[in-house]
Symmetry: C2
Subunit: 307 residues, 2 copies
Amino acid sequence: MSNKVLVFGHKNPDTDSITSSIVMANLENQLGNEAQAVRTGKINKETEYVFQYLGIEKPELIEDVEDGQEVILVDHNEATQCVNNIANAHIQKVVDHHTMNFVAPYQLYYRAEPVGCTATVLYKMYRENDVEINKTIATLMLSAIISDTLLFKSPTCTPEDQKVAEKLAKIADVNVEEYGKNLLKAGTDISEFTPAEVINIDSKLFEKDGKKFKIAQINTADLDDVFKKQSYFEAAINDEIKQENLDLYVFAATDILNSNSKVISLGNQANVIEKAYGQPLDHNTALLEGVVSRKKQILPKILENLD
Amino acid sequence: MSNKVLVFGHKNPDTDSITSSIVMANLENQLGNEAQAVRTGKINKETEYVFQYLGIEKPELIEDVEDGQEVILVDHNEATQCVNNIANAHIQKVVDHHTMNFVAPYQLYYRAEPVGCTATVLYKMYRENDVEINKTIATLMLSAIISDTLLFKSPTCTPEDQKVAEKLAKIADVNVEEYGKNLLKAGTDISEFTPAEVINIDSKLFEKDGKKFKIAQINTADLDDVFKKQSYFEAAINDEIKQENLDLYVFAATDILNSNSKVISLGNQANVIEKAYGQPLDHNTALLEGVVSRKKQILPKILENLD
C-alpha cells in the first residue's frame, strides 16, 4: 500500500482522466498532502501526444487498490468506472464533472461542477488556493479541455471551459487551434489496435434497473475508413456482450470534422437507438447527425429509452 | 412554482440548515443568480434566538416543491431527509458536510467538505468569489458553527471550523463564548413542546438494507429534568414507530455541559445500543459517556451493528 494518496481517473482513461490525475496530485503536493498520480488503464494515442509534446513520463499503471488505501478520484465518481477494490479504499476527495451516483459512509471533499472538463474545475481550485500554474500543468489542463470539448465544438463545452482554456493557452504558450487539431488528430489513429482494443479505447460501463450497458466512443477524421472494419468490431463487441453479460453495447465513431457520430448498436437492447433517435438500425448501424457527446447526447437518450 | 431558485436545508431543520439557506441564497443573489431561502420545517428555539438577536424575519415555510422547480440543497444530500417531491425538482447545487448518498442523472454543482458545519464551506465560497460577508451574514454563519460543533466541543469540530468561527466573530462583533452559551442554552428549552414535538425537534430518518430508523437529538443542560417525562417520550416514539413502520428509534438527550448523551432506544432493533456501546439498556435507556455527535458517534455505530 502506498503511503501517498493515489490520484486516478476512470478505467479506459481519456486525456482528462490522465492529465487531471497529474494536475490534482501536483495541487495536493503543493498544499502539503503527499500525493501520486497513477493510471488505471492504457494511455490512448491522444494522451500520448500530450506526453510526447511535453517530454514527461506517464504515471504508473495500477490494476487495483489495496484495502485502506487513501485515494482521490478525478473525472469519475461511479464505482462501476473505478479501479478494482475501490469499495475497500478510503476516498479522500472527488473532483469531477459528471452526473452523480455516489455513496460514501463517511465525510469527504467532493467537488463537481456542470462544466465540460475536470481540468476546468481544477483550474479554479488552483486559483482559490493561490497555487501557481506552471507551463506544464497549464498544457496538461488545456489538453484535457480541448479533448473533452472536441476543441470547443461539443455541446458539453461551457463558456467557463472556453474562458479557462484561453487563460491556460497563454501560460502554456501554445496556439490553441493548431495544437488542438494536432492533439485530436493524434487520437484518431487506430492503426495499431486490434478490434477488441479499439472498442475499449474509451468505453464506459453503466447500469440502470439491473441492465448493464457500455457506450464506447472513438474520434475519427474518416468514418468510412473506420467502418471498413465493421464486421471485426461487431465480433469483438459480441464477445464482450457475452463475457460481461451486457444488455447493450453502443460503439460510436465520432467524426470530429463534421460533428456527427456513426454508431454500431448490439445486444438485446440494440433497438434503443431507434427509439432514442427515430432511426432504424441499418446493418446494426445508424448515423446520428450532430451527435458528438456521449454524456449529453447519447447516455441520457439511452437511459430514457431502455426497455 | 417560484421563478427564483429555492434554497433549503433538511427536514426538521437545525440552525445550520436554516442559516445556511439564507447565507447561500445571499451568495447566489450577489453572484447574479436569483435565489430565495425557504425552510422545510418548524424553526427550533435555538434558531429562533438567532433571529431575535439579529431582528430578521424567518424564511417562508414550504411543504413540498413543484415539478421542475430549480432548487439548491444545503446541509443535506439524502432524499429521505429532503422536502417532498424532490425527485421531480432540478437540483442546481448542493453544499453540504455530511456522508453521501446521492444520485442525479444530470450534472450539477456539488460541494461537500469534511468539516463540522455547512457554514464553514460557505465561508470559503464567499472568499473564493470575493463576495463581502456583512455583519448579519457573519452572525448567521457563526451561529451555525457554534450550534453544529456545540461551541467547538463536539468531535465533529475541525480546526477549520474553529478558524473560520474566529474570523466570523470579528465581523459579527460578538464574544463567541458568551453568545455561544446563550445560543445553546436557548436550544435546550423544551417547556412549550408536546412530547411528540420534542422527539421531532431534530430527528433524522435513515435507511440501510431495507431497515428504517430515526435518530433524534436534543440538547439539554439538565438530563434529569428531561427524563422526568421519559414515559411520555416513549409513548410518542412508539406511536411514530408504528405509523412510519420504523425498526428503531433512538432519542438522544445530549448534556452540553458534561458532554454525555442519555438515549432512549425503542423498536425491534432497540438492542443495537447494547451491541454498539457494550451497555445493556436499563428501562430502555443508556447513558453514553462522551457521546455528543449523532454523525460521528451514533449513526456509524448503529449502521455497523444493525441486525
